[in-house]
């Protein structure tokens, strides 16, 4: 036990002092925050004011459209001028679009058309369509004697607030959704990062022949246990810092300062506890495999070529998370979240968005513990032989023989 502790402590201290660790701790949450904040910021601010010319022979409709656009708080600022249609006007407008004096013009004919030199402004066209429809409706309903106030009431925007029923308390569905995605990506990132760290350090210890020195003092099992404990503690430190940062960011005081208070990031104690359990089980599972891989190869390049085979289930989980989120208790989501390679991520995701039946959580936990035990048993047998084997990579039959070595 003393040896395991000494090895784990060395592993931990050497690792947390590296720049890579500090960068990963700081950079990852910053990147995640940027991923959430930047699109929101761009969407809210837009690309500045838009200059649009509305060409129609109906001056009343033109004014109505301008009014509609101005009253719509969600749309970005627009300056709309109304002009009567004349074919002579077209070349002039085209030139203004080319020289960027205006962003585009809406030509009202039998079929309204929007001309601009940007193909991507779908949102703007959508806004124009909505406003034009309301303006037209105003005009026609006004002709039937409906008052302007009544028309406004009819077209008042409707917003459905999504809330979850959980433990008798309503929780905002959107923020839960965001929290689920953020935490799962965090879990994924940390498992990948630490797994990689384990396989790389095993390769390094093998190529620098440290094993030759260490194995004269400690057993391969102690080496492996110390390594997994040490790196695991590093991972735990990493995710703890992230979680603490997350909790601080989601605290009411900070949440008040958010520009869009709709997207609060909420973390409960249950979220945190399950996160740590999923991290530890996932870490042991994938890192034992990574250590096994590291012991089989002779260089980091070789390890990198092979690591996708081990990380496949993790990658698959990320590809599947949309599907699981949209139907958390569907058949496939349920089956996959019970299986050990997928459980740490998918069961966590399900727990986050919709608490699954207790028996499923328990079964997944039991299977995961069994999986971890199996993988560690397998990995330690391969590791024990592999760390002293140099030269070519073992073939499948050779690996099977290694398992039987005493």
């Amino acid at each position: 036990m003393r040896n395991i502790f000494l090895i784990a402590r060395r592993e931990y201290l050497e690792r947390v002092r590296t720049k890579a660790f500090i960068v990963s701790v700081v950079l990852f949450p910053v990147l995640m925050a940027l991923c959430v904040a930047v699109p929101a910021y761009i969407a809210s601010k837009g690309a500045g004011q838009k200059n649009i010319v509305f060409v129609t022979d109906d001056a009343v409709l033109g004014q109505a459209l301008v009014g509609e656009l101005a009253s719509d708080k969600d749309t970005r600022e627009m300056s709309v001028t109304v002009d009567a249609p004349a074919e002579s006007l077209r070349p002039q407008l085209n030139e203004q679009v080319q020289t960027k004096k205006i962003d585009g013009y809406l030509w009202m004919g039998d079929k309204p058309a929007y001309y601009s030199n940007s193909a991507g402004d779908l949102e703007l066209v959508g806004t124009l369509e909505d406003a034009l429809q309301r303006a037209l409706a105003h005009q026609q309903l006004g002709g039937h004697g409906v008052s302007s106030a009544e028309v406004h009431a009819i077209f008042a925007p409707v917003h459905i607030d999504m809330r979850l029923v959980r433990n008798g308390m309503g929780a905002n569905a959107l923020s839960t959704y965001i929290a689920a995605i953020v935490l799962m990506i965090m879990l994924y990132g940390s498992l990948m990062f630490q797994g990689n760290a384990v396989s790389q350090s095993v390769v390094e210890e093998k190529t620098s022949r440290i094993f030759e020195v260490m194995l004269a003092m400690v057993s391969p099992k102690e080496m492996l246990a110390g390594k997994l404990l040490g790196v695991g503690a590093v991972g735990l430190t990493q995710v703890s810092i992230w979680l603490v940062a997350g909790v601080l960011l989601s605290s009411p005081g900070v949440a008040m300062m958010h520009a869009s208070s709709e997207y609060t990031f909420h973390l409960s104690a249950w979220n945190v506890v399950t996160f740590v359990i999923c991290f530890l089980l996932g870490f042991l599972f994938y890192s034992a495999l990574a250590a096994m891989l590291g012991s089989m190869v002779n260089s980091n390049q070789e390890a990198q070529q092979l690591s996708p085979f081990i990380n496949m289930p993790l990658i698959l989980c990320v590809l599947l998370f949309q599907a699981v989120l949209s139907d958390p208790s569907g058949r496939w989501a349920t089956i996959l979240s019970l299986l050990p390679p997928f459980a740490p991520l998918l069961m966590y995701l399900r727990i986050m968005v919709q608490t699954p039946p207790v028996w499923q959580i328990a079964l997944s936990l039991v299977l995961m513990l069994g999986g971890v035990w199996l993988v560690i048993a397998l990995a330690s047998r391969i590791y024990r032989v592999g760390i002293l084997m140099y030269g070519k990579r073992p073939t499948m039959p050779e690996l099977l023989r290694w398992l039987k070595y005493s």
Binding site: I7, R10, E14, S208, I210, E212, V213, L388
Partner: protein, 312 residues
């Protein structure tokens, strides 16, 4: 296992006993039916060309691998991992954590052998002083030269004052001055009663330092015993003559093979040849400054024994 300590008072303790050990890897036989004994207070040479099975033998001696058949005893008891705290092993390849500070590394390795951190550090500093490498203790390993790393590794091996010291090519990468420094330490440790196993393919070093040897080739022990006894078993048929003048005596019919290095001749005699006749033949046409009938070197014996097949 229980024994009366007094029983061994008159004979030195058997530190290592390998009894007919065999190890196979897949189809290759690494070690076959090898036996050897190393006593306290002696230096033992494990000799053989590269790939002869020296490292495989050492690995079994310290439980890194287990023999397929045969038995290993350390300190007169069947092998247990506990006894590793009394063993120091210096592998042929340098194995140190590159990014770790040298003194931290020595402390860790000392702790893994059961020392406490303070004692490990104190001993590490004392040895570094002795081996003239004290300035390197606060550097990272990869800032040191190969020879300096070898000295650090040497210190790590003897830090916990082991009773059995296993050195696999300890002097590789060292200049002559440092080689002598380390040799002196090894001789001193031997005189303190430690058993030292010295594995190498450099015969001269073994010849100078070791009392007993085991020669391995192709995984088998082909020759073992005390260096003196072994040499006595082989006839003295090597002549060294330093002369000035005609060298035609070198084609004397009693000479099997002769090499002349500009007046320094090395002559292998045919079996039963009389060295005196060579001397008179030489003196007939040349002036002889020195004439010496040599004991066979271990290298000669090695070549005779394994039939000249060595890539050492």
């Amino acid at each position: 296992m229980h024994w009366e300590p007094t029983q061994y008072l008159d004979q030195p303790m058997k530190i290592v006993q390998l009894n007919r050990i065999t190890k196979k890897y897949d189809t290759k036989i690494a070690v076959q039916d090898l036996s050897l004994e190393i006593e306290a207070g002696t230096m033992f040479g494990l000799l053989g060309p590269n790939g002869a099975g020296k490292t495989s033998t050492i690995r079994m001696m310290i439980g890194m691998t287990l023999p397929d058949t045969g038995s290993v005893s350390l300190f007169q008891a069947p092998f247990t991992r506990k006894s590793l705290q009394r063993v120091g092993y210096l592998p042929e390849e340098r194995g140190l954590y590159k990014k770790m500070k040298v003194i931290d590394q020595l402390v860790l390795l000392g702790q893994l052998r059961g020392l406490d951190a303070a004692a490990a550090e104190q001993r590490g500093r004392r040895w570094a002083e002795r081996l003239e490498i004290a300035d390197s203790l606060d550097k990272k390993t990869d800032e040191l030269s190969k020879g300096m790393q070898q000295k650090i590794q040497f210190i790590a091996t003897i830090l916990h004052d082991p009773e059995l010291i296993i050195m696999d090519e300890p002097f590789s990468g060292l200049d002559p001055v440092n080689t002598i420094l380390l040799q002196d330490v090894l001789v001193e440790l031997k005189n303190q009663g430690k058993a030292i196993l010295f594995s190498t393919h450099h015969m001269e070093q073994v010849e100078k330092l070791c009392e007993s040897i085991c020669l391995v080739n192709g995984g088998k022990g082909v020759l073992s015993g005390s260096v003196r006894e072994i040499k006595a078993r082989y006839p003295r048929n090597l002549l060294r003559i330093h002369f000035e003048g005609d060298d035609k005596f070198l084609s004397h019919p009693m000479i099997a093979e002769a090499k002349n290095y500009g007046g320094n001749a090395e002559i292998h005699l045919k079996p039963g040849a009389d060295p005196q006749q060579i001397l008179s033949a030489a003196m007939a046409n040349a002036r002889v400054d020195r004439f010496e009938l040599m004991e066979p070197t271990l290298e000669d014996i090695f070549i005779q024994t394994v039939g000249g097949k060595t890539d050492a």
